[in-house]
């Protein structure tokens, strides 16, 4: 299992600080284990094809760990020659209260000019996997937390691993929630202009107490020292 050093450090701290929330750390070493861990795959694309799959190291390698230890989605999400992709990856049900930090890494292929887009959405509706059944439906996942390359700009998706972080909004008390990672691309398929291949790695959700700024600096210092030793 690959190490996610930054996140491990956060989690050690977080567990001590906010024991009631559910942390999440996923490095996608083996995606066949995801359904057993509460993850769901739903492909609402036009003439749905591939669901999210184990990273292909021949396109690019993972940020760390085994080269294929990330999860990917691509243009074969649709079997249509020209259609829309709406390919969902839903996290396990998490107990969140708001204020937690969601972090993830994503990227596309170097030199890619066929625009990709990744949305991160939240459902506050328990263990639901309701995302509707159309290319544009959102179901219970109407709350948009973040969007990478929202306007489908041809070179708008990072072509090297880039970390994104977003703070979960206030949920008015401890709430069962799920995250939805949606690979959403219009005008795609073999004959389409958009849609190529994206990777997603090192997804984490950790509680963020008010003292994060101070303690976090110390933790980052620790992380740096660990890196020097290895």
């Amino acid at each position: 299992m690959k190490a996610i050093r930054t996140l491990s450090a956060f989690v050690l701290f977080a567990l001590a600080g906010t024991a009631s929330a559910t942390p999440l750390i996923e490095g996608f070493d083996n995606i066949t284990s995801l359904p057993g861990a509460g993850w769901s795959f739903i492909n609402n694309s036009t003439d749905a094809g591939s669901t999210w799959f184990q990273g292909n190291e021949g396109i690019f390698g993972a940020k760390d760990g085994a080269a294929n230890s990330y999860i990917a989605a691509n243009l074969t999400s649709t079997n249509s020659m020209l259609g829309t992709i709406s390919n969902w990856l839903l996290s396990p049900t998490l107990s969140l209260r708001g204020g937690e930090t969601l972090s993830f890494l994503t990227r596309t292929e170097a030199g890619s000019l066929n625009a990709d887009r990744l949305e991160i959405r939240l459902s506050k509706n328990g263990n639901t996997s309701q995302v509707g059944n159309a290319t544009d439906s959102l179901g219970d996942f109407s709350l948009l937390l973040s969007s990478v390359n929202p306007n489908l700009v041809p070179d708008g998706f990072p072509t090297d691993w880039q970390m994104f972080s977003v703070v979960i909004p206030d949920l008015k008390g401890l709430t069962d929630a799920r995250l939805g990672f949606r690979y959403w691309v219009t005008d795609t398929g073999i004959n389409g202009s958009n849609g190529n291949y994206i990777g997603l790695d090192n997804v984490s959700v950790v509680p963020t107490p008010s003292s994060l700024a101070c303690l976090g600096l110390g933790l980052f210092g620790l992380m740096a020292s660990v890196r020097r030793r290895t």
């Binding site: 094809g49 591939s50 799959f53 184990q54 292909n56 190291e57 021949g58 396109i59 990917a72 691509n74 243009l75 074969t76 079997n79 249509s80 020659m81 292929e109 890619s112 066929n114 073999i190 004959n191 190529n196 291949y197």
Partner: protein, 472 residues
């Protein structure tokens, strides 16, 4: 003596004369003319001498060709007993584009004769007589051979009849001497006596063939197998081998390095794949062609036929790559040419019908400059599934078309000859021929090939080494 006659369904009345054709050889081969008056060997149609065959009637030229082929075999063999071959011309299976040229097999088999190397084992009649050094069949023919009387006529390889010259300059016609050499080989011993479709042995007794035939999957020789295991082995494409020492020792002097397709990259598809080579485009060489594999997709069902110029997206995907296209709708050379025009450096054509080994890619186009090979439907589907994990222009799956450093064309990795075991089974062809992957082509492959020379022994051919394994 335990003598068994395989067939006696041709009455002696049909045998119009036994004609000794050769007298100055290590073995004498006698053709027993089984044709009716006026047909086959007795056809009085006047003809012009051709290619060293001075006969002035069609029948005489056919006999002359027989004598010529018999001389070649006679010089190779060593037997004190004349070998009688009952022969005639009959209407055999025909289609517009394919036809059975001839067929032959043992008319007599024998076992437990004095001097038999193995007890309770069938030997072809000619070989049994040689080993016994006496004629145990009292002058009866030991081989039955028939040749297609309709060849070249309408709906029977029309315009492509037998060439009766002796010089091998047959052009677009079928060289009768070559066909005769092949069929005589079957009669002399190059044929299985155990039924590959039912697995049953002739009268429940194995033949010498069964001792040398070995299945790499079952890891058993045919003599060790149950009937069901032999049935499975008969369709175990390129896993059925000949273990005889004479063939294995001669093979390196005869066979070239094997063209091969190696796939690397994603773990699910790594390996060496069975291929059929193309009759057009460049030969696969030791220098080879290596590139990433990308699919062409131009059909709504996910196939890529490449029958039309490729779209910009497809062209971008395969530029500098080895393109995977599907068989169907148009000829192979059109697909390969379209891929070439889009910038591909090679083509894999995935079959659309189940079966192995993959046949070659027929067709011609002198402007094709990239190599192409055919792979099985199963392998094509396996590759296409893995290729779903691609990006627009990368797959992480690599193909290398080259010549094997260790394996020869037509043998397994240990240098033992592959036998023809296609799936589905082909009665009359399966198990009793060398595999079609042999290169250069061998006399005893199931299809008539132009490149076969009129030699029976190494370094040109492996027919006689196989007969030696049987006891010749």
């Amino acid at each position: 003596m335990n003598v068994k006659q395989l067939t006696r369904n041709v009455t002696l009345a049909l045998i119009l004369g036994a004609m000794p054709l050769i007298a100055q050889a290590a073995a004498e081969i006698i053709v027993v003319n089984a044709d009716e008056p006026g047909e086959g060997f007795n056809d009085p149609t006047p003809v012009q001498p051709i290619g060293g065959n001075n006969g002035l009637t069609l029948g005489q030229q056919r006999l002359n060709a027989f004598q010529y082929a018999a001389n070649i075999w006679g010089r190779q063999l060593d037997s004190a007993v004349p070998i009688r071959i009952k022969s005639n011309f009959d209407p055999l299976a025909c289609e517009k584009d394919s036809a059975t040229l001839g067929s032959a097999g043992p008319l007599m088999v024998n076992r437990d004769f004095a001097g038999a190397p193995r007890t309770n084992t069938w030997y072809h009649g000619a070989l049994a007589n040689k080993l016994l050094e006496a004629d145990d069949f009292e002058g009866e023919p030991v081989i039955r051979a028939r040749f297609n009387s309709n060849l070249g006529k309408e709906n029977c390889l029309e315009g492509g009849g037998f060439y009766l010259g002796l010089d091998g300059q047959h052009g677009h016609l079928t060289d009768l001497v070559g066909v005769l050499l092949h069929e005589f080989g079957h009669g002399l011993g190059f044929s299985n006596l155990t039924n590959g479709q039912t697995g049953r042995r002739y009268n429940g007794i194995p033949s010498m063939w069964d001792y040398h035939l070995y299945d790499l999957t079952a890891q058993k020789s045919w003599v060790e197998m149950t009937d069901a295991e032999r049935v499975a082995s008969g369709v175990n494409s390129r896993k059925l081998i000949w273990r005889g020492q004479n063939v294995t020792q001669a093979a390196p002097r005869v066979l070239q390095g094997a063209p091969e397709l190696r796939i690397s990259g994603l773990a699910s598809v790594i390996g060496t794949y069975q291929i059929g080579t193309a009759s057009f485009g460049p030969q696969i060489t030791a220098a080879g062609t290596s590139a990433e594999v990308m699919p062409v997709v131009d059909q709504t069902d996910g196939r890529g036929l490449a029958c039309d110029p490729l779209t910009a997206n497809n062209a971008s995907a395969i530029r500098g790559k080895i393109a995977l296209v599907d068989r169907g709708t148009c000829s192979f050379n059109i697909k390969v040419k379209n891929a070439q025009l889009a910038g591909a450096v090679g083509v894999l054509v995935a079959d659309n019908a189940a079966g192995s080994p993959p046949p070659g890619l027929g067709g011609s186009d002198p402007t094709v400059t990239i190599p192409a090979v055919r792979i099985t439907k199963d392998d094509g589907e396996k590759l296409k599934l893995a290729l779903k994990q691609r990006s627009r222009n990368r797959s992480g799956i690599y193909a290398a078309l080259g010549i094997s450093a260790t394996q020869r064309a037509g043998s397994d990795e240990a240098g033992r000859l592959l036998m023809f075991a296609p799936n589905p089974y082909q009665p009359g062809s399966s198990v009793s021929h060398f595999d079609t992957s042999a290169s250069p082509d061998l006399l005893m492959e199931p299809f008539n090939t132009e490149s076969v020379k009129r030699n029976l022994d190494a370094p040109h051919d492996l027919t006689f080494p196989l007969l030696r394994d049987l006891g010749w």
